[in-house]
Each structure stands twice: as structure tokens, then as C-alpha cells.
Amino acid sequence: MKSKIFASCAEAVRDIPDGSVIAFGGFSAIGAPANLLKALAEQGAKNLTCVLNSPRNSPNLPAAAPDIGILCERGQVKKVICAFTAPTRLSQTMTFAKYYEQGLVEAELVPQGTLAERLRAAGAGIPAFYTPTAVGTELAVGRETRHFNGREYLLELALPVDYAFVRAHRADAFGNLQFHGSQRNFNPVMATAARTVIAEVEEEILPRGKMDPNQVHTTGLFVQRMVRIPPPPEGYWPIPPKRADE
């Protein structure tokens, strides 16, 4: 079997065509594949649809990673599917929002749990499901609802993607991934929804057989490409490597 290990993020994203639908893991900067994102900005693919929790990283974090605002600035983004299309406070700014408000980038606003579940459904061969979320809101206007056991639910469709960019803490050569702490978030879910998963990995990629099969978070079946993140300053490493006491 061909090695899944790529020498650089640039190499791992080189063939991504214009028009791709790409999911980006991460919840704010934690678990976000910042190095792959930056490589994609440099690669230049256009007309992209980006699927992610928020087009902006949290301002609370000291070393915020680049967010998909950098893709908007380069004119690479057609549409964003996410749970936030505006900052949560008036005092905050968000690069993406400027493009969205001017109509230069489209957006589909999806409740966070619905976003996770639509991605999971895509990975699980479930084309559609019903959820109580967003019933009675602006998001449900004109859409199909249905009652089960006397409660109203909204029909939601699976959200498959072409690529998922994920960030993992550890990996083995087969592509099995482990995440640390809340870095996990959307990463395993997006991995199941994608035809091609590209993982940036924080630690050395282990030989096969060195990861406990009982403790794999994303199995290597889902992962086609992996890149060990280079240390700063070459690599974008918003999250320092774990400390000795971890």
C-alpha cells in the first residue's frame, strides 16, 4: 500500500481542484488545521465551499491561527457553511464577515449540532434525518417539517465534502489518529464525511502497531494523507507541543 505520509502541507494539498468542498476541523483555534489552511491559501484553488464551525478563530486565544478569512482575502471562497456568520459581539471583527456582508462570499448558517450531525450522516450513508433544532425559527421558513410523537422536527440533509482538513495529536503510518483534549471536536466527524482526508499531525508519525487499537479516535480507513507539522518558524504552530507534564 502506498505511503500516506507527505513531506509537506504544500504537497498534500497540491492537487486540490477549483470548486472543491472542504471541511476544516477545529473549534476556534483548537484542533484547527492551520498549516494546511495556509498551504491551501498559497496553492490558490478558487471557488471553494468551506465547511467549518466558525470562519473566525476566538479572540480569547493568545496565538490565534489564521482563519478562513485569509482565503476570502485571496478570492478563493465561493461559499461558507458554518454556525457563525457574524461575530458574537459587536466589538469583534471577522474578516469573512466583510466579504459576506458585501455579497462577495455566500454563506449558509447552520446550527452547530445540525452541522455536526449532517457531516456525520454523510459519513454514515444516511441521506437525511429529522432534528428538533431550529424548528419555529427563521432557518426553518419554507422547509419541510414533520411530527413524530407529537413533536415537530425539521428535515436535514447529509453534508458530504470532497476534502477534510484535520489536525491530530498523534498518528500511525496506517492513518489512525488520536486527538488530545478538546482538539478532537469536529475533526473525527469531518473525517468520516470526506472522500479525501488530509491530517496535519503534531507528533512523530508512529510505525504501525504502536498505537493501541482500543484507543484510536479516527481509524486509518478514513485518512489518505498525513503531514507532520514542522516546528516554527516554518510551520504554523499556534498550539505549542504538549508539555512534559501532560
Binding site: 476556534s28 448558517l109 446550527p111 432534528t131 424548528v135 478532537r184 471536536n185 498550539i239 501532560e246
Partner: protein, 223 residues
Amino acid sequence: MSDAKGLSRQQMCDRLAMEFQDGWVVNLGLGIPTLCSNCAFGDREIIFHSENGVIGYGPLAKPGDEDLHLTNAGGQYVTLQPGAAIVHHADSFAMIRGGRIDVTVLGAYEVAENGDFANWKMAGQKGGGIGGAMDLAVGAKNVFLAMEQLTRDGKPRLVERCAIPVTARGVVKLVITNLGLFQITKDGFLLREIAPGVALDQIKAQTGGKLTVANPLPTVRLT
């Protein structure tokens, strides 16, 4: 007579947190509600759940002591309590929609007398920030709100009907503001407790929608 300011934000959260029962799983929204994690729970054990899959987080991490892979949904570096566990986002929201959250405390722009509330999109905005609020609002067993009585422009946030897009319909049970503790009933807002130093007339003037008042009307319990 100038208006009283009433409770501090921490006091508002302290009062709400008295409603949490031993063993409850609690999810706190951004803003004022995060202060609920600072409250003293005595011998009640509270399990804090965060949308990003952290179950059982504890106090904020001390500066220099952060695990840089670990934040709550507000992006704050937190610690883990013994017995904590991490899950991925789909599993985290499965817990939310599946009814495993005993209470979510959320901030809001507006709450209506019928229990509708709005917290994701301000008037005139093109975009909005839903985050996990819509899932929490329909999934949690109890929805509590923590909010100021008035907007920055001095308009009531407790209203007859929400003027901006709602987050969910008819789900709010309890609202704490700086002026008092309100319960949503079929007769609208029931003022259950009044903040110390606040006159009932002020609350009547600063509440839209139907208001009833508990009789007797105690002051807000603070310990």
C-alpha cells in the same frame, strides 16, 4: 427617583446556580452565563458540559498552567475535574439533543412572555452567530436565561413577543436579570424574587409583556 442597578452579574449567576441540583449536567452559554461556573455549590456536584465535547470541566486554568489543547466552548482554558471525559462534536450534540443536559444557561437579547427567546441575530444584521444555542435550547431539560433587564438603549429585554429572529419557541423556564428572578408561566412573566433595593414599579416599567408578581414577593436569595 433614579433606577436601581440591582444585582451584579455574578449575583445573577449565583442565584440561578442555586437551582442546579446535585448531579446535574450544566451547559453554560457565552457571556454572563459563564459566571455560573464560579459559584459555590457546597455538597452539590455539578458536571459542566461544553459543546466542544468536554464533559466535566472545572475552574479556569491558572495563567502559565493551561493545557493548550483544552478550552471550553467560550475559548477559555479550563481544567478537568476527576472523572472528566472528551467526546467529538457529533457525540457532544447527541448528548444535547438526546436530553442529557439538565440545564443550559444562555444569554439573550430578548425573551418573550410565552418562553420564546432570541440570542443569535441582532436587528439589522445580515449574519448571525447561532453556535450551539439552537440545539441547546431544544435539547436541554431546562433553559434558563441570564441577561440585563434593559438593552443598552434602555429598552426592555422581557417582551410580549420577540421582534428579532428567535432561537427557539416556548422553551424558557427561568430568567434572571439584574432586577429579579422571573419564571415563564402560561400567564407570562411571573416575578418570583426581586433584587434588593429595587422597587416593583421599576420592574413594571422596565418589563414588556404580561407581568404577574408573586405574593408574597421575597428579595432575591443570595446565599
